[in-house]
Amino acid sequence: MVQQSEAPRVIARSDATPRLELAGVGKVFSGPSGPVEALRGVDLSVADGEFVAIVGPSGCGKSTILNVVAGLEQPTRGEVRLDGAALQDRLGRTAYMHQRDLLLPWRTVLDNAILGLEVAGVPRSEARARALALVERFGLTGFIDSYPAALSGGMRQRAAFLRTVLADRPILLLDEPFGALDALTRASMQEWLLGLWDELRRTILFITHDVEEAVLLADRVLVMSPRPGTIVERAVVGLPRPRRYEMVTEPAFVALKAALIAALRGDGGGVR
Protein backbone atom coordinates (compact mmCIF):
# COMPACT_ATOMS: atom_id res chain seq x y z
CA MET A 1 0.00 0.00 0.00
CA VAL A 2 2.64 2.46 0.99
CA GLN A 3 4.93 1.18 -1.75
CA GLN A 4 3.94 3.97 -4.09
CA SER A 5 6.99 6.18 -4.29
CA GLU A 6 7.09 8.79 -1.57
CA ALA A 7 9.42 11.33 -3.12
CA PRO A 8 7.66 12.46 -6.33
CA ARG A 9 4.38 13.00 -4.53
CA VAL A 10 5.41 16.27 -2.95
CA ILE A 11 6.28 17.70 -6.33
CA ALA A 12 3.31 16.09 -8.05
CA ARG A 13 0.82 17.44 -5.49
CA SER A 14 0.38 20.85 -7.11
CA ASP A 15 -0.24 20.27 -10.80
CA ALA A 16 -0.74 16.53 -11.26
CA THR A 17 -4.11 15.12 -12.36
CA PRO A 18 -6.38 14.82 -9.36
CA ARG A 19 -7.13 11.33 -8.12
CA LEU A 20 -10.81 12.15 -8.23
CA GLU A 21 -12.77 14.84 -10.01
CA LEU A 22 -16.48 15.56 -10.13
CA ALA A 23 -17.53 18.03 -12.83
CA GLY A 24 -21.06 19.41 -12.81
CA VAL A 25 -22.47 16.26 -11.24
CA GLY A 26 -26.23 16.23 -10.83
CA LYS A 27 -28.42 13.38 -9.64
CA VAL A 28 -32.18 13.10 -9.91
CA PHE A 29 -34.02 10.16 -8.39
CA SER A 30 -37.51 9.18 -9.38
CA GLY A 31 -39.41 9.20 -6.11
CA PRO A 32 -42.99 8.07 -5.41
CA SER A 33 -44.21 11.67 -5.68
CA GLY A 34 -42.24 12.78 -8.72
CA PRO A 35 -38.54 13.29 -9.36
CA VAL A 36 -36.28 14.27 -6.46
CA GLU A 37 -33.19 16.29 -7.22
CA ALA A 38 -30.51 15.09 -4.82
CA LEU A 39 -27.43 16.78 -6.28
CA ARG A 40 -26.98 19.82 -8.50
CA GLY A 41 -23.80 20.97 -10.20
CA VAL A 42 -21.32 19.42 -7.79
CA ASP A 43 -17.71 20.24 -8.65
CA LEU A 44 -14.91 18.91 -6.55
CA SER A 45 -11.49 17.38 -6.85
CA VAL A 46 -9.30 15.39 -4.52
CA ALA A 47 -5.55 15.32 -5.12
CA ASP A 48 -3.39 12.28 -4.56
CA GLY A 49 -2.82 11.76 -0.85
CA GLU A 50 -5.26 14.49 0.11
CA PHE A 51 -7.86 14.26 2.87
CA VAL A 52 -11.04 16.10 1.85
CA ALA A 53 -14.11 16.28 4.08
CA ILE A 54 -17.64 17.17 3.03
CA VAL A 55 -19.97 18.52 5.70
CA GLY A 56 -23.65 19.01 5.17
CA PRO A 57 -27.01 18.76 6.87
CA SER A 58 -28.65 15.35 6.91
CA GLY A 59 -30.51 14.51 3.73
CA CYS A 60 -28.39 16.84 1.58
CA GLY A 61 -27.17 14.08 -0.68
CA LYS A 62 -23.75 13.58 0.89
CA SER A 63 -24.02 9.83 0.68
CA THR A 64 -25.28 10.11 -2.89
CA ILE A 65 -21.96 11.71 -3.82
CA LEU A 66 -20.11 8.70 -2.48
CA ASN A 67 -22.52 6.28 -4.16
CA VAL A 68 -21.91 8.07 -7.44
CA VAL A 69 -18.13 8.07 -7.00
CA ALA A 70 -18.15 4.37 -6.08
CA GLY A 71 -20.16 3.60 -9.20
CA LEU A 72 -23.22 2.29 -7.32
CA GLU A 73 -25.19 5.12 -8.97
CA GLN A 74 -24.62 6.92 -12.24
CA PRO A 75 -24.89 10.72 -12.28
CA THR A 76 -27.83 12.19 -14.19
CA ARG A 77 -25.60 15.05 -15.36
CA GLY A 78 -21.88 15.75 -15.37
CA GLU A 79 -19.06 13.29 -15.07
CA VAL A 80 -16.79 11.57 -12.59
CA ARG A 81 -13.11 11.28 -13.44
CA LEU A 82 -10.75 8.89 -11.74
CA ASP A 83 -7.10 9.74 -12.43
CA GLY A 84 -8.30 11.98 -15.22
CA ALA A 85 -10.39 9.36 -17.00
CA ALA A 86 -14.18 9.65 -17.14
CA LEU A 87 -15.30 6.10 -16.40
CA GLN A 88 -18.77 4.59 -16.57
CA ASP A 89 -17.81 1.48 -14.62
CA ARG A 90 -16.19 2.61 -11.40
CA LEU A 91 -17.13 -0.44 -9.33
CA GLY A 92 -14.08 -1.94 -7.69
CA ARG A 93 -11.98 1.22 -8.06
CA THR A 94 -12.65 2.70 -4.62
CA ALA A 95 -12.80 1.43 -1.06
CA TYR A 96 -16.13 2.42 0.47
CA MET A 97 -16.82 2.47 4.18
CA HIS A 98 -20.26 3.10 5.64
CA GLN A 99 -21.48 4.46 8.92
CA ARG A 100 -22.48 0.92 9.83
CA ASP A 101 -19.48 -1.37 9.98
CA LEU A 102 -21.14 -3.91 7.66
CA LEU A 103 -18.96 -6.73 8.90
CA LEU A 104 -20.17 -10.15 7.80
CA PRO A 105 -21.35 -11.83 11.02
CA TRP A 106 -20.36 -15.26 9.73
CA ARG A 107 -16.75 -14.31 9.11
CA THR A 108 -14.01 -13.83 11.68
CA VAL A 109 -12.40 -10.40 11.98
CA LEU A 110 -9.46 -11.54 9.87
CA ASP A 111 -11.63 -12.94 7.10
CA ASN A 112 -13.77 -9.80 7.12
CA ALA A 113 -10.65 -7.69 6.76
CA ILE A 114 -9.50 -9.49 3.62
CA LEU A 115 -12.85 -9.22 1.84
CA GLY A 116 -11.77 -6.47 -0.55
CA LEU A 117 -8.56 -8.27 -1.47
CA GLU A 118 -10.50 -11.49 -1.93
CA VAL A 119 -12.91 -9.82 -4.35
CA ALA A 120 -9.90 -8.39 -6.19
CA GLY A 121 -8.62 -11.94 -6.66
CA VAL A 122 -5.71 -11.91 -4.21
CA PRO A 123 -5.08 -15.45 -2.89
CA ARG A 124 -6.42 -15.93 0.63
CA SER A 125 -3.10 -16.83 2.22
CA GLU A 126 -1.44 -13.72 0.82
CA ALA A 127 -4.43 -11.55 1.81
CA ARG A 128 -4.32 -12.95 5.35
CA ALA A 129 -0.61 -12.25 5.62
CA ARG A 130 -1.16 -8.66 4.55
CA ALA A 131 -3.98 -8.26 7.06
CA LEU A 132 -1.93 -9.76 9.88
CA ALA A 133 0.80 -7.18 9.27
CA LEU A 134 -1.69 -4.39 10.09
CA VAL A 135 -3.68 -6.02 12.89
CA GLU A 136 -1.66 -4.40 15.65
CA ARG A 137 -1.88 -0.93 14.13
CA PHE A 138 -5.66 -1.32 14.05
CA GLY A 139 -5.83 -2.41 17.69
CA LEU A 140 -7.24 -5.81 16.84
CA THR A 141 -4.49 -8.02 18.27
CA GLY A 142 -6.01 -11.08 19.88
CA PHE A 143 -9.34 -10.65 18.12
CA ILE A 144 -8.54 -11.80 14.60
CA ASP A 145 -10.33 -15.11 15.13
CA SER A 146 -13.35 -13.59 16.88
CA TYR A 147 -16.69 -13.07 15.23
CA PRO A 148 -17.84 -9.44 14.95
CA ALA A 149 -20.62 -10.02 17.49
CA ALA A 150 -17.99 -10.40 20.21
CA LEU A 151 -16.43 -6.97 19.50
CA SER A 152 -17.19 -3.49 20.89
CA GLY A 153 -18.48 -0.76 18.58
CA GLY A 154 -15.10 0.94 18.29
CA MET A 155 -13.34 -2.32 17.52
CA ARG A 156 -15.91 -3.25 14.91
CA GLN A 157 -15.37 0.10 13.25
CA ARG A 158 -11.60 -0.41 13.30
CA ALA A 159 -12.08 -3.84 11.74
CA ALA A 160 -14.18 -2.19 9.02
CA PHE A 161 -11.39 0.35 8.60
CA LEU A 162 -8.86 -2.41 8.23
CA ARG A 163 -11.01 -3.96 5.52
CA THR A 164 -11.26 -0.58 3.75
CA VAL A 165 -7.55 0.29 3.94
CA LEU A 166 -6.49 -3.24 3.05
CA ALA A 167 -8.67 -3.29 -0.06
CA ASP A 168 -5.79 -1.39 -1.67
CA ARG A 169 -7.85 0.91 -3.86
CA PRO A 170 -6.53 4.38 -4.77
CA ILE A 171 -9.38 6.28 -3.06
CA LEU A 172 -11.06 5.72 0.29
CA LEU A 173 -14.68 6.86 0.58
CA LEU A 174 -15.68 7.21 4.22
CA ASP A 175 -19.35 7.87 4.96
CA GLU A 176 -19.66 9.12 8.55
CA PRO A 177 -17.52 6.26 9.82
CA PHE A 178 -17.76 7.47 13.43
CA GLY A 179 -21.37 8.57 13.30
CA ALA A 180 -22.68 5.58 15.22
CA LEU A 181 -20.12 5.71 18.03
CA ASP A 182 -20.48 7.34 21.43
CA ALA A 183 -18.65 10.67 21.92
CA LEU A 184 -15.72 9.25 23.87
CA THR A 185 -15.05 6.40 21.44
CA ARG A 186 -15.45 8.82 18.55
CA ALA A 187 -12.77 11.17 19.90
CA SER A 188 -10.29 8.34 20.36
CA MET A 189 -11.12 6.95 16.91
CA GLN A 190 -10.51 10.40 15.38
CA GLU A 191 -7.09 10.61 17.00
CA TRP A 192 -6.35 7.09 15.88
CA LEU A 193 -7.34 7.93 12.30
CA LEU A 194 -5.14 11.05 12.34
CA GLY A 195 -2.14 8.94 13.31
CA LEU A 196 -3.00 6.29 10.76
CA TRP A 197 -3.43 8.80 7.96
CA ASP A 198 -0.07 10.41 8.78
CA GLU A 199 1.49 6.98 8.22
CA LEU A 200 -0.43 5.83 5.19
CA ARG A 201 -1.19 9.12 3.37
CA ARG A 202 -4.07 7.67 1.42
CA THR A 203 -6.46 9.73 -0.68
CA ILE A 204 -9.65 10.15 1.36
CA LEU A 205 -13.06 11.64 0.68
CA PHE A 206 -14.75 11.86 4.06
CA ILE A 207 -18.41 12.61 4.72
CA THR A 208 -19.64 13.92 8.06
CA HIS A 209 -22.25 16.19 9.58
CA ASP A 210 -19.84 17.16 12.35
CA VAL A 211 -17.91 20.35 11.47
CA GLU A 212 -15.39 19.84 14.25
CA GLU A 213 -14.58 16.37 13.01
CA ALA A 214 -14.10 17.69 9.46
CA VAL A 215 -11.74 20.47 10.55
CA LEU A 216 -9.76 18.21 12.84
CA LEU A 217 -9.15 15.53 10.22
CA ALA A 218 -9.15 17.09 6.77
CA ASP A 219 -6.83 19.15 4.56
CA ARG A 220 -9.83 20.82 2.96
CA VAL A 221 -13.46 21.06 3.98
CA LEU A 222 -16.37 21.43 1.55
CA VAL A 223 -19.76 22.59 2.82
CA MET A 224 -22.92 21.33 1.18
CA SER A 225 -26.33 22.99 1.03
CA PRO A 226 -29.61 21.22 1.78
CA ARG A 227 -31.28 19.37 -1.08
CA PRO A 228 -30.61 19.73 -3.94
CA GLY A 229 -27.09 19.36 -2.57
CA THR A 230 -24.40 21.54 -3.99
CA ILE A 231 -21.11 22.80 -2.63
CA VAL A 232 -21.57 26.28 -1.17
CA GLU A 233 -18.26 26.80 0.61
CA ARG A 234 -14.71 25.52 0.33
CA ALA A 235 -12.08 26.00 3.02
CA VAL A 236 -8.44 24.99 3.36
CA VAL A 237 -7.60 23.84 6.87
CA GLY A 238 -4.32 25.52 7.69
CA LEU A 239 -3.63 23.59 10.88
CA PRO A 240 -0.22 21.90 10.96
CA ARG A 241 0.20 18.13 10.96
CA PRO A 242 0.54 15.94 12.91
CA ARG A 243 -2.68 17.10 14.53
CA ARG A 244 -3.82 16.32 18.02
CA TYR A 245 -7.28 16.33 19.52
CA GLU A 246 -6.35 19.26 21.82
CA MET A 247 -6.22 21.55 18.78
CA VAL A 248 -9.99 21.85 18.82
CA THR A 249 -9.65 24.61 21.42
CA GLU A 250 -7.06 26.68 19.52
CA PRO A 251 -8.31 30.07 18.25
CA ALA A 252 -7.59 29.28 14.57
CA PHE A 253 -9.55 26.06 14.86
CA VAL A 254 -12.48 27.70 16.63
CA ALA A 255 -12.61 30.54 14.08
CA LEU A 256 -12.66 28.17 11.10
CA LYS A 257 -15.25 26.00 12.79
CA ALA A 258 -17.49 29.01 13.44
CA ALA A 259 -17.18 30.20 9.84
CA LEU A 260 -18.03 26.75 8.49
CA ILE A 261 -21.02 26.42 10.78
CA ALA A 262 -22.23 29.80 9.52
CA ALA A 263 -21.84 28.59 5.92
CA LEU A 264 -23.66 25.40 6.80
CA ARG A 265 -26.56 27.42 8.15
CA GLY A 266 -26.65 29.47 4.98
CA ASP A 267 -25.52 32.74 6.61
CA GLY A 268 -22.85 33.20 3.98
CA GLY A 269 -19.78 34.86 5.44
CA GLY A 270 -16.25 34.64 4.11
CA VAL A 271 -14.36 31.55 5.13
CA ARG A 272 -11.29 32.12 3.00
Binding site: Y96, L102, V119, Y147, A150
Partner: protein
Protein backbone atom coordinates in the same frame (compact mmCIF):
# COMPACT_ATOMS: atom_id res chain seq x y z
CA UNK B 1 -16.95 -22.36 23.03
CA UNK B 2 -19.83 -20.52 24.59
CA UNK B 3 -21.86 -23.72 24.70
CA UNK B 4 -19.52 -25.08 27.36
CA UNK B 5 -20.06 -22.27 29.81
CA UNK B 6 -21.62 -23.64 32.99
CA UNK B 7 -24.61 -21.30 32.81
CA UNK B 8 -25.53 -22.53 29.34
CA UNK B 9 -25.08 -26.13 30.34
CA UNK B 10 -27.24 -25.57 33.37
CA UNK B 11 -29.90 -23.95 31.24
CA UNK B 12 -29.80 -26.82 28.78
CA UNK B 13 -30.10 -29.49 31.49
CA UNK B 14 -33.00 -27.49 32.89
CA UNK B 15 -34.50 -27.43 29.42
CA UNK B 16 -34.51 -31.22 29.18
CA UNK B 17 -34.91 -32.03 32.86
CA UNK B 18 -38.54 -30.99 33.28
CA UNK B 19 -39.97 -32.67 30.15
CA UNK B 20 -37.85 -35.72 31.00
CA UNK B 21 -39.34 -36.02 34.46
CA UNK B 22 -42.82 -35.42 33.05
CA UNK B 23 -42.35 -38.20 30.51
CA UNK B 24 -41.11 -40.68 33.11
CA UNK B 25 -44.06 -39.88 35.39
CA UNK B 26 -46.54 -40.28 32.52
CA UNK B 27 -45.08 -43.64 31.47
CA UNK B 28 -45.10 -44.86 35.07
CA UNK B 29 -48.74 -43.81 35.48
CA UNK B 30 -49.63 -45.55 32.22
CA UNK B 31 -47.95 -48.79 33.43
CA UNK B 32 -49.67 -48.52 36.81
CA UNK B 33 -53.15 -47.90 35.42
CA UNK B 34 -52.91 -50.73 32.87
CA UNK B 35 -51.79 -53.16 35.59
CA UNK B 36 -54.30 -52.04 38.22
CA UNK B 37 -57.30 -52.04 35.89
CA UNK B 38 -56.24 -55.22 34.13
CA UNK B 39 -56.72 -53.57 30.71
CA UNK B 40 -56.46 -56.17 27.93
CA UNK B 41 -53.24 -55.89 25.91
CA UNK B 42 -55.10 -55.63 22.57
CA UNK B 43 -56.78 -52.46 23.86
CA UNK B 44 -53.90 -50.74 25.61
CA UNK B 45 -50.63 -52.57 26.26
CA UNK B 46 -48.47 -51.51 29.18
CA UNK B 47 -45.19 -49.70 28.36
CA UNK B 48 -43.31 -52.79 29.54
CA UNK B 49 -45.27 -54.91 27.03
CA UNK B 50 -44.47 -52.44 24.24
CA UNK B 51 -40.80 -52.58 25.13
CA UNK B 52 -41.07 -56.38 25.20
CA UNK B 53 -42.66 -56.38 21.73
CA UNK B 54 -39.89 -54.12 20.49
CA UNK B 55 -37.13 -56.37 21.84
CA UNK B 56 -38.88 -59.56 20.79
CA UNK B 57 -39.53 -58.41 17.19
CA UNK B 58 -36.32 -56.46 16.89
CA UNK B 59 -35.14 -58.09 13.65
CA UNK B 60 -38.53 -57.70 11.99
CA UNK B 61 -38.93 -54.08 13.13
CA UNK B 62 -35.32 -53.34 12.25
CA UNK B 63 -35.88 -54.49 8.66
CA UNK B 64 -39.00 -52.36 8.29
CA UNK B 65 -37.20 -49.41 9.88
CA UNK B 66 -34.47 -49.58 7.26
CA UNK B 67 -37.08 -49.45 4.48
CA UNK B 68 -38.75 -46.39 6.01
CA UNK B 69 -35.38 -44.78 6.70
CA UNK B 70 -34.41 -45.16 3.04
CA UNK B 71 -37.64 -43.48 1.90
CA UNK B 72 -37.15 -40.68 4.41
CA UNK B 73 -33.51 -40.03 3.57
CA UNK B 74 -33.94 -40.13 -0.20
CA UNK B 75 -37.06 -37.96 0.01
CA UNK B 76 -35.38 -35.57 2.41
CA UNK B 77 -32.29 -35.09 0.26
CA UNK B 78 -34.44 -34.58 -2.85
CA UNK B 79 -36.65 -32.05 -1.01
CA UNK B 80 -33.57 -30.18 0.11
CA UNK B 81 -32.08 -29.93 -3.39
CA UNK B 82 -35.44 -29.15 -4.95
CA UNK B 83 -36.51 -26.70 -2.21
CA UNK B 84 -33.26 -24.74 -2.21
CA UNK B 85 -33.17 -24.69 -6.02
CA UNK B 86 -36.71 -23.36 -6.32
CA UNK B 87 -36.02 -20.83 -3.55
CA UNK B 88 -33.00 -19.45 -5.39
CA UNK B 89 -35.00 -19.20 -8.62
CA UNK B 90 -37.82 -17.38 -6.80
CA UNK B 91 -35.47 -15.02 -5.00
CA UNK B 92 -33.52 -14.12 -8.12
CA UNK B 93 -36.16 -14.00 -10.83
CA UNK B 94 -39.28 -11.86 -10.45
CA UNK B 95 -40.92 -13.80 -13.29
CA UNK B 96 -40.34 -17.14 -11.58
CA UNK B 97 -41.54 -15.60 -8.34
CA UNK B 98 -44.83 -14.44 -9.83
CA UNK B 99 -45.32 -17.69 -11.73
CA UNK B 100 -44.30 -20.27 -9.14
CA UNK B 101 -44.53 -18.83 -5.65
CA UNK B 102 -48.36 -18.76 -5.48
CA UNK B 103 -48.45 -22.35 -6.74
CA UNK B 104 -45.91 -23.43 -4.13
CA UNK B 105 -48.05 -21.91 -1.40
CA UNK B 106 -51.34 -23.23 -2.84
CA UNK B 107 -49.82 -26.71 -3.05
CA UNK B 108 -49.83 -26.79 0.74
CA UNK B 109 -53.62 -26.57 0.76
CA UNK B 110 -53.86 -29.92 -1.03
CA UNK B 111 -54.33 -32.73 1.49
CA UNK B 112 -51.33 -34.86 0.66
CA UNK B 113 -52.91 -37.89 2.29
CA UNK B 114 -55.53 -37.72 -0.49
CA UNK B 115 -52.84 -37.68 -3.15
CA UNK B 116 -51.18 -40.84 -1.87
CA UNK B 117 -53.72 -43.27 -3.47
CA UNK B 118 -53.27 -41.52 -6.82
CA UNK B 119 -49.51 -41.84 -6.54
CA UNK B 120 -50.07 -45.51 -5.79
CA UNK B 121 -52.04 -45.89 -9.05
CA UNK B 122 -49.34 -44.12 -11.02
CA UNK B 123 -46.19 -45.53 -9.46
CA UNK B 124 -47.22 -48.81 -7.83
CA UNK B 125 -46.11 -50.31 -4.53
CA UNK B 126 -42.41 -49.48 -4.74
CA UNK B 127 -40.33 -46.76 -3.10
CA UNK B 128 -41.28 -44.03 -5.59
CA UNK B 129 -44.74 -42.99 -4.30
CA UNK B 130 -43.44 -42.86 -0.69
CA UNK B 131 -40.50 -40.73 -1.69
CA UNK B 132 -42.85 -38.40 -3.56
CA UNK B 133 -45.06 -37.99 -0.48
CA UNK B 134 -41.99 -37.21 1.65
CA UNK B 135 -40.88 -34.63 -0.92
CA UNK B 136 -44.37 -33.08 -1.05
CA UNK B 137 -44.32 -32.64 2.72
CA UNK B 138 -40.68 -31.57 3.21
CA UNK B 139 -40.24 -29.36 0.17
CA UNK B 140 -42.48 -26.57 1.41
CA UNK B 141 -40.85 -25.56 4.71
CA UNK B 142 -37.39 -25.69 3.13
CA UNK B 143 -38.36 -23.62 0.08
CA UNK B 144 -40.38 -20.96 1.91
CA UNK B 145 -37.79 -20.43 4.64
CA UNK B 146 -34.95 -20.25 2.14
CA UNK B 147 -36.81 -17.64 0.08
CA UNK B 148 -37.22 -15.55 3.24
CA UNK B 149 -33.54 -16.03 4.03
CA UNK B 150 -32.35 -14.99 0.58
CA UNK B 151 -34.44 -11.86 0.88
CA UNK B 152 -33.10 -11.14 4.36
CA UNK B 153 -29.64 -10.18 3.10
CA UNK B 154 -28.78 -6.62 4.14
CA UNK B 155 -29.02 -4.47 0.98
CA UNK B 156 -26.14 -2.31 2.21
CA UNK B 157 -23.96 -5.41 2.42
CA UNK B 158 -24.91 -6.31 -1.13
CA UNK B 159 -23.98 -2.75 -2.17
CA UNK B 160 -20.67 -3.00 -0.31
CA UNK B 161 -19.76 -6.10 -2.29
CA UNK B 162 -20.83 -4.39 -5.49
CA UNK B 163 -18.69 -1.33 -4.73
CA UNK B 164 -15.75 -3.71 -4.31
CA UNK B 165 -16.36 -4.90 -7.82
CA UNK B 166 -17.84 -8.29 -6.91
CA UNK B 167 -20.02 -9.98 -9.52
CA UNK B 168 -23.41 -11.59 -8.87
CA UNK B 169 -21.98 -15.01 -8.12
CA UNK B 170 -19.35 -13.71 -5.68
CA UNK B 171 -21.98 -11.58 -4.00
CA UNK B 172 -24.34 -14.56 -3.75
CA UNK B 173 -21.66 -16.79 -2.23
CA UNK B 174 -20.30 -14.15 0.12
CA UNK B 175 -23.44 -12.38 1.34
CA UNK B 176 -26.78 -13.80 0.22
CA UNK B 177 -26.19 -17.48 0.81
CA UNK B 178 -24.58 -17.16 4.26
CA UNK B 179 -27.33 -14.74 5.31
CA UNK B 180 -29.94 -17.27 4.17
CA UNK B 181 -28.39 -20.25 5.96
CA UNK B 182 -30.04 -19.78 9.38
CA UNK B 183 -33.43 -19.59 7.66
CA UNK B 184 -32.60 -22.53 5.43
CA UNK B 185 -31.70 -24.55 8.48
CA UNK B 186 -34.86 -23.74 10.40
CA UNK B 187 -36.88 -24.90 7.38
CA UNK B 188 -34.77 -28.01 7.14
CA UNK B 189 -35.27 -28.81 10.84
CA UNK B 190 -39.04 -28.64 10.38
CA UNK B 191 -38.75 -30.82 7.28
CA UNK B 192 -36.67 -33.37 9.19
CA UNK B 193 -39.30 -33.62 11.91
CA UNK B 194 -42.20 -34.20 9.48
CA UNK B 195 -40.36 -36.33 6.91
CA UNK B 196 -41.13 -39.60 8.76
CA UNK B 197 -44.84 -38.73 8.72
CA UNK B 198 -44.66 -38.46 4.92
CA UNK B 199 -43.10 -41.89 4.58
CA UNK B 200 -45.71 -43.45 6.91
CA UNK B 201 -48.60 -41.92 4.94
CA UNK B 202 -47.13 -43.37 1.75
CA UNK B 203 -46.80 -46.79 3.35
CA UNK B 204 -50.30 -46.86 4.83
CA UNK B 205 -51.85 -46.35 1.42
CA UNK B 206 -50.13 -49.33 -0.09
CA UNK B 207 -46.86 -51.08 0.56
CA UNK B 208 -45.24 -54.39 1.32
CA UNK B 209 -42.59 -53.13 3.74
CA UNK B 210 -41.76 -50.28 6.10
CA UNK B 211 -42.89 -49.18 9.56
CA UNK B 212 -46.24 -47.95 8.20
CA UNK B 213 -46.91 -51.34 6.63
CA UNK B 214 -45.86 -53.04 9.87
CA UNK B 215 -48.26 -50.85 11.90
CA UNK B 216 -51.22 -51.66 9.64
CA UNK B 217 -50.42 -55.39 9.65
CA UNK B 218 -50.03 -55.47 13.43
CA UNK B 219 -53.22 -53.45 13.98
CA UNK B 220 -55.26 -55.83 11.81
CA UNK B 221 -53.97 -58.68 13.98
CA UNK B 222 -54.87 -56.70 17.13
CA UNK B 223 -51.20 -56.86 18.09
CA UNK B 224 -51.41 -53.42 19.66
CA UNK B 225 -48.07 -53.68 21.44
CA UNK B 226 -46.33 -54.02 18.08
CA UNK B 227 -48.20 -50.98 16.74
CA UNK B 228 -46.98 -48.94 19.68
CA UNK B 229 -43.46 -50.29 19.22
CA UNK B 230 -43.50 -49.11 15.59
CA UNK B 231 -44.86 -45.71 16.66
CA UNK B 232 -42.03 -45.44 19.18
CA UNK B 233 -39.41 -46.28 16.55
CA UNK B 234 -40.79 -43.79 14.01
CA UNK B 235 -40.90 -41.05 16.66
CA UNK B 236 -37.28 -41.76 17.55
CA UNK B 237 -36.42 -41.64 13.84
CA UNK B 238 -37.96 -38.17 13.50
CA UNK B 239 -36.21 -36.87 16.60
CA UNK B 240 -32.84 -38.29 15.51
CA UNK B 241 -33.17 -36.59 12.11
CA UNK B 242 -34.13 -33.32 13.76
CA UNK B 243 -31.19 -33.46 16.14
CA UNK B 244 -28.83 -34.41 13.31
CA UNK B 245 -29.86 -31.32 11.34
CA UNK B 246 -29.58 -29.14 14.47
CA UNK B 247 -26.06 -30.46 15.15
CA UNK B 248 -25.08 -29.88 11.53
CA UNK B 249 -26.31 -26.31 11.89
CA UNK B 250 -24.26 -25.75 15.04
CA UNK B 251 -21.21 -27.10 13.28
CA UNK B 252 -21.67 -25.16 10.05
CA UNK B 253 -22.82 -21.87 11.57
CA UNK B 254 -20.67 -21.38 14.67
CA UNK B 255 -21.15 -17.61 14.45
CA UNK B 256 -24.85 -18.07 15.15
CA UNK B 257 -24.04 -19.06 18.71
CA UNK B 258 -21.44 -16.42 19.54
CA UNK B 259 -23.68 -13.42 19.18
CA UNK B 260 -26.46 -14.45 21.47
CA UNK B 261 -24.47 -15.17 24.63
CA UNK B 262 -21.20 -13.33 23.93
Amino acid sequence: MIADLPSTRLRRSGQWGIPGVLLVVAVALWELIVRLTDTPAWFLPAPSAILGALVHNWQLIGGHTLVTLEEVLVGFVLSFAFGVGVAIAIAYSPIVERAIYPIVIASQAIPIIALAPILLIWFGYGLTPKIIVVVLICFFPIAVNTVDGLRAADPELVDLLRSMGAGRWKSFRTVRLPAALPYLFSGTRIAAAVSVIGALIGEWVGSSAGLGYFMIRSASQFNTARVFAAVLVSAVLGVVLFVAVALLERWLLPWQHTGRDG
